[in-house]
Amino acid sequence: MSNSIPFNLDPPGTYLYTGQMATKGFKLTRFGLSLRDPANRERFLKDEAAYMREAGLNEEEIRLVLARDWTGLIEAGGHLQAMLKVAATVGQNLWHIGAHNAGMEVEELMRICPRTVSALPEGEK
């Protein structure tokens, strides 16, 4: 297995998005998705904290966004697709999120991707 990618669904390798996560991150996800609207993107960029407070985020969630702590945001229940809207709005992209999640620099991650593994369902070869 290259890059020692584990074949399991446990964090920090994988954050499975479940109902419990959706409850925990409801406001965070809603906030991220609000940035699908160009007018909201503009308002957010003018004053990030104010926009988030209005969206009902708590101080910890606001801190995570301001710090671009993508891993913390995903752990807090922000759905990846919603956090991706936040990243895009602040001039980052999926690679920034991935690099933060994988604990490496963007360039390093881009260099090692695709991270080839080779395995088939049990009983197959």
């Binding site: 990618i5 499975l16 998005y17 409801f26 996800t29 759905h79 999640n101 395995a119």
Partner: protein
């Protein structure tokens, strides 16, 4: 009676669409050029197949729906479906033409047959469809479409068994659709990839080839693989492969594979396979 003349399964990713736009404007990157070349056979087949209507089973990525009300299965029934703004503006493509007649026919048969569809008379479609349609079909887009969106963004997602059966029941519903129309059924979902967590970028090409190889004749074997296993080996987004089962289920045992292509340009397995019904 209307009939299904064939169908295809195809990956989708945002980059697949964005790279295409960039490629048109300033030349294609070699990684992606391969994919657009590899899908030309699908375009040619689609022209030959000359469908009067299309059913596209896909998934939304929180670009239209949100968690205030996220449907497990939603069917679009409207005269048109606009493109969703995914957060970086619209791409230069028109709305899809919607197939209201087939949409209500399917709704009637499928809801009465035990599918709890959310019926959308207003629906914006994201890269689930827009990332591949532009290079498989010339403009203007005139073939009316029934989009069916399957939840893949939050667990629980529907089982592979159910999605396969859903395809079979689409086929049964078509059997009673009046007229002589030719119908193509598409199933689209990512192949191996994972775009969050430390496993970001996982690429299991072996798994993807195995899937493409078995989909036609060893469908049941694939359907029996736990979705957890697909995610464990191919990344969480590989669960979207289950959507391909709806396409397969809508086709008969007698289909012929007429095209197949696979590549892995960046962080997602990109594959396509086309099946044609005997005349």
């Amino acid at each position: 009676m209307a009939r299904i003349v064939g169908g295809f399964g195809i990956s989708h990713t945002p980059s697949m669409g964005l790279e295409y736009d960039k490629g048109l404007a300033q030349g294609f990157s070699p990684r992606w050029q391969k994919w657009y070349d590899g899908t030309r056979g699908v375009k040619a087949w689609l022209e030959r197949a000359a469908p009067d209507r299309m059913i596209i089973v896909y998934n939304d990525h929180l670009n239209h729906f949100d968690f205030s009300a996220y449907p497990t299965m939603a069917i679009g029934v409207a005269p048109e479906f606009r493109q969703a703004d995914e957060g970086w503006g619209l791409r230069p493509f028109p709305s899809l033409v919607g197939d209201v007649d087939l949409g209500w026919h399917l709704t009637e048969k499928l809801v009465r047959g035990g599918y709890d569809l959310t019926v959308c008379q207003d629906l914006a479609v994201d890269h689930g469809i827009y990332s591949w349609l532009p290079y498989l079909m010339d403009l203007p887009w005139t073939i009316p479409v029934v989009p069916v969106a399957i939840n893949m963004v939050r667990h629980p997602i529907p089982t592979s068994e159910r999605l396969h059966q859903f395809g079979k029941d689409i086929r049964r519903a078509i059997d009673s659709f009046p007229g002589e129309d030719r119908i193509v059924v598409v199933g689209t979902g990512g192949m191996s990839h994972q775009i969050s967590g430390a496993r970001f970028g996982i690429a299991n090409e072996t798994l993807d080839h195995y899937f493409l190889e078995k989909l036609k004749d060893e469908t049941e074997e694939l359907v029996a693989i736990p979705q957890e296993e697909l995610m464990r080996l191919g990344g969480t987004e590989a669960a979207e492969l289950a959507i391909w089962f709806s396409m397969r289920g809508a086709l008969s045992d007698k289909v012929k594979e007429v095209h197949r292509y696979y590549t892995f340009p960046a962080i997602t397995g990109c594959g396509v396979v086309v099946y044609e019904e005997p005349a």
